[in-house]
Subunit: 349 residues, 2 copies
DNA sequence: GTCATTCAAGAAAACGTTTTCTCGGATTTT
DNA sequence: AAAATCCGAGAAAACGTTTTCTTGAATGAC
């Protein structure tokens, strides 16, 4: 089972077996063949733990995501795993479920396993929980934190670009009253999206009604609640942009419940462009933030940091473009916005 | 950084440090306190690799799923992770993406990491790929394979129960032409579901039209295609049962496209009851196969096998009940169906 | 033909733990 | 009070590798 058994049967030293496996040049072809034959015969697989103990390299990366049951994340996990496999790395995934205890535990375990780097894809603000990793000089990559620190890279999401496209698209369809359902505003990323929305509106000369800035929670339930609120306003908006797709799905659901037709009565734009978006009814127009791309960037950030001989003095900043994907959940604004809504209300009574 | 440093600073031997960490009784409270203080001070975390090298226990379980981007699986991964955390295990997850090469590689790596057990949740038929694990006597747990072998447990899904409920439910709503969209029939699990459907229909005395047995592929796209086929039949069915929820979502999507209203024109039942089902428009009636429960069973199967002193001679068989969850995608059959069923029922008496 | 050089492969050290073995002092037994 | 027992803690072995050091044979130089 161990390298010794192989060595014994091939009548060589364990050093030779090790060298054979690792393709070190100094081993005679003849011996090499003999060793390989025994390895095959025995079905010998080297013990990774022993290997990385002596080599000091675990070939493991950690991946921390908020919640794997949120459809946004599986694509990231898959993408990360795909590249990891290609590069002979393994990954230790943790779905934090927003539980600080869980995060702390997971960080601890990753350190104990001597991971070579950790990608933190959480959109959260639990930064302090990762101090342990930082002080141990483990390469990290975050989403949307700055400024870069030694060994700590960052993927900056260019929210502005996609959201501007969304606002312009709606404006082109004659929408003027546009609501924005944000994520929890304690989250940097949620804040950034809202800010991008406001700036885009101002840029294009549309008024931002503070009543139409609604704080959601990035869940379907949140979308449902938010739409209820929106429909209660005397002056209903004709379009809604959501801070993520799950919220948009909630909005759709509640619209159906209340007899509001999308996109005839209400145009809807999501954010993230999860795969599901295209299978909604109607297919959801959304701002794409490529999960695969995020995964790729995150992995490469870690890998290149690990492969460096001297640590990067200031991490690296990667930028991810977002951009609008048009589908069927947006349409021309109902003419004379207001009146139409008034009529709608009457017929509802 | 290592146990030696701790030992040096606490002026004890490394054995004492080890004993302190592992709570071995024979260590004086006074010394213990001294050691702990140094550990805290240094922020020392033991090296898992060294630990499990000597102890021979990796405290890792492998988890192999078909495709983490399929909404059915994340709940399983999460559930598995939850229990693993509670039991101080770590998990190495692989999403096979149906690629045999990938599976083989992943199996190999798991063996190299000396995982203590592997849960295989794939609904596939790549069984031969796991022979390596079997021959190494690593505890395994499968879904829906039998018969049990030494150290190999099995979770048998009781498809019949839930599907019978679904058929009875539809029959009660006076449906008699009921279509079934299966998964790929090379899959045991897909076959089993179809068989359960046929048996349930016969049980209740409804005819099974072979034309209404359609082979899908467990994807949304498959559902879309299948519905197109169904709508082309001269004698359309009034209800459809799908072999999984993704297929049902595809059916919904295409129904919308073709102006077929669910549930007025067509009743729809899914299978799996993924979380998303309740957020569909309309909320999808589905046969629940609790993913959390599967995860729990799988983990416990592995854990109890590992904790045994002598291996189980025949694994253990766990059974998971399925049952219908009623929502809004089913309704009374369009009139015309009614009468006939009434007659049918009479003749059955 | 002797001596320096090269090189393949074995011996041994090292990685960071746990665990067995050993030892010396304290406690109990007689 | 001497002998036997216990017990806390250090020394050392072991886990399965990689890698450095060593060795001895073969090659080449003069």
């Amino acid at each position: 089972m161990s390298i010794h058994e192989v060595a014994r049967r091939a009548r060589v030293s364990i050093a030779t077996v090790s060298r054979t496996i690792n393709g070190v040049s100094t081993v005679t072809p003849q011996l090499s063949r003999r060793v390989w034959r025994v390895i095959e015969e025995l079905g010998y697989y080297p013990n990774t733990q022993a290997r990385s103990l002596v080599s000091g390299r675990s070939r493991i990366f950690g991946l921390i995501v908020s919640e794997i049951t949120n459809p946004f994340f599986p694509e990231i996990v898959q993408g990360f795993e795909d590249i990891a496999v290609q590069n002979n790395y393994e990954i230790l995934t943790t779905s934090t479920v927003h539980d600080p205890k869980r995060i702390a535990l997971s960080v601890r375990r990753m350190i104990e396993r001597r991971v070579e780097g950790v990608a933190i894809v959480t959109f959260g603000m639990e930064e302090a929980l990762f101090d342990d990793l930082k002080s141990r000089k483990i390469p990290l990559v975050f989403i949307d934190v700055g400024p870069p620190l030694p060994r700590i890279s960052n993927i900056r999401i260019d929210y502005q670009h996609g959201i501007r496209e969304a606002v312009q698209h709606l404006a082109a369809l004659c929408h003027e009253r546009i609501a924005f359902i944000s994520g929890p505003l304690i989250l940097k990323s949620a804040m950034a999206r809202q800010r991008a929305f406001i700036e885009s509106m101002e840029e294009i000369g549309l008024p931002v009604d503070p009543n139409l800035l609604i704080e959601g929670d990035h869940t379907m339930e949140g979308g449902i609640k938010a739409l209820k609120k929106i429909l209660n306003f005397p002056k209903r908006p004709t379009a809604v942009i959501c801070s993520n797709d799950m919220t948009a799905i909630g909005v759709m659901r509640q619209s159906y419940e209340e007899g509001v037709h999308i996109p005839r009565d209400l145009s809807l734009v999501g954010f993230d462009d999860i795969r599901l978006a295209q299978f909604m009814i109607p297919p959801l127009t959304s701002v794409k933030m490529s999960q695969t791309e995020i995964a790729r960037m995150a992995f490469n950030a870690l890998l290149s940091e690990v492969q460096r001989d001297i640590p990067s003095p200031n991490g690296t900043e990667y930028v991810l473009r977002t951009s609008l994907v048009l589908r069927d959940s947006t349409a021309m604004a109902p003419t004379g916005g207001r009146k139409k809504v008034a009529i709608l209300k009457k017929s509802a009574e």
